[in-house]
């Protein structure tokens, strides 16, 4: 069953060294309430998987500024000078991953797959150290699944079974990250009773979700 907890209780579940899959795209749809609780904690040495490192004062950027992240798998960090500075000083290790590949690698983990085959990155530095597999005369890169100890995600509405509905472009990576965390903590703007959400509108079924946090609390 899904448990409703506070953001600080959510942060207390996470330990230094854990791997976090964090939803959001340039902070739209980022679980800001949980991130704020993490930023207020002493948790360090996090490995973060996310689309972008957002801005210094928004989204994942807040954890970067606090030096709480030691490594990241990310597709874009151009909006965050701090993570680029830490990267150039060798304080944070970064694997840059094409955004579509990143999403499929996380989705693969959640779907019980070992990885995926993609043409993206062939003939570029992304190919280095990876197996090229030929299927029907077409080459593809073998990209391995990415798992998380936790997925931290943000929904618009949740019911008390953990069924989630998103809003506009704040959906982005959240439904994907929700599939691949061993423990999934979803922050929602509104938590409603079971039966109040239209089953046809549910994007993330509650089976993926372990904990709910009320946004802004």
């Amino acid at each position: 069953m899904v448990k409703i907890i506070s953001a600080s209780e959510a942060a207390a579940l996470i330990k230094s060294g854990d791997r976090l899959l964090i939803g959001g795209f340039l902070a739209a749809g980022a679980p800001e309430t949980i991130i704020d609780a993490l930023a207020a904690s002493n948790i360090r040495d996090l490995h973060v998987v996310c689309i972008a490192s957002d801005w210094e004062n928004k989204g994942i950027g807040k954890l970067v500024v606090n030096h709480q992240i030691s490594s990241a798998q990310v597709s874009h960090m151009g909006t965050n000078k701090e993570i680029q500075a830490q990267f150039n000083k060798g304080e944070i290790s970064i694997e840059l991953i094409p955004q579509g590949t990143l999403m499929e690698r996380v989705r693969a983990a959640g779907a019980g797959l070992g990885g995926i085959l993609t043409p993206t990155g062939l003939g570029t530095v992304v190919e280095e150290g990876k197996d090229v597999i030929v299927v029907d005369n077409q080459p593809y890169l073998l990209e391995k699944a990415i798992h998380g100890d936790f997925a931290l995600i943000k929904a618009w509405k949740a019911d008390k079974l953990g069924n989630l509905v998103y809003r506009k472009t704040a959906r982005n990576s959240n439904p994907i990250m929700a599939m691949a965390g061993k423990i999934v903590i979803a922050e929602a703007e509104e938590i409603v009773e079971v039966g109040e959400l239209d089953p046809e509108s549910i994007v993330t079924p509650g089976i993926f979700v372990n904990y709910l946090v009320q946004s802004g609390e």
């Binding site: 739209a28 960090m77 579509g100 999403m103 043409p119 506009k168 472009t169």
Partner: protein
């Protein structure tokens, strides 16, 4: 006409009615301002939307409605939202008709470098590698030369590639260049220039057909 307007106006002529289009950040975004009359295209934003509309009026921004550059947008009738994996299935799966992207370098083999300058600029590739790999037609929008006057249209890219051999058309402030199996073809030159001007300003080897058109007339 300034260089950016010249480039974005010419690229807009490549759009067909009904095309699904993804525009990169920066100069490519300006293509949307010059869509020819009678042509309706649907814009995708890779953060999970089809049917992107113009920027909202000040005061009516929605925190949950942004484009891939983080700017506020609006939704047009018929818009749809989807997750990032679906968005990149659309991109990688060959469902986008045209993508327009900027360049640090582009070469005569259709290779594009637009995401990294080692040691200097490491923003990450974001969605660019998937877009260049998967879109049906890849158009590069770039100034012909960098700020030092060096050609950005090269024989061979020296920066890390975004994708290998995927560029179809290059539109600059000087020329329209098509990547063909037999070389980089000079299709059009900007009004006021000569073929020699373009050849002189270009590092890449150009195939110059007997007839070269002009662009940039109003």
């Amino acid at each position: 006409m300034d260089k950016r307007e010249l480039i974005s106006k010419r690229i807009a002529q490549e759009l067909h009615d009904g095309d699904y289009v993804n525009l990169g950040i920066g100069l490519p975004t300006e293509v949307a301002n010059h869509i020819p009359e009678g042509i309706h295209v649907i814009f995708q934003s890779e953060n999970g939307m089809l049917g992107v509309g113009p920027a909202p009026a000040p005061g009516s921004e929605d925190k949950d409605l942004i484009n891939a550059g983080g700017g506020f947008i609006t939704e047009l009738p018929g818009a749809s939202y989807f997750d990032s994996a679906t968005s990149f299935a659309i991109i990688r799966g060959g469902h986008i008709d045209i993508t327009v992207l900027g360049a640090l370098q582009v070469d005569q083999h259709g290779n594009l470098a637009n995401w990294m300058i080692p040691g200097k600029l490491v923003p990450g590739m974001g969605g660019a590698m998937d877009l260049v790999t998967g879109a049906k037609k890849v158009i590069v929008a770039t100034e012909h030369c960098d700020k030092y006057g060096n050609s950005k249209i090269l024989k061979q890219c020296t920066l890390p590639l975004t994708a290998k051999g995927k560029v179809n058309l290059i539109v600059t402030d000087m020329a329209v260049l098509e990547v063909a199996s037999y070389g980089l073809v000079l299709k059009e030159i900007a009004v006021g220039l000569t073929v020699e001007d373009v050849v002189k300003a270009t590092d890449a080897d150009l195939v110059v057909p007997e007839q070269v058109g002009f662009f940039g007339t109003e």
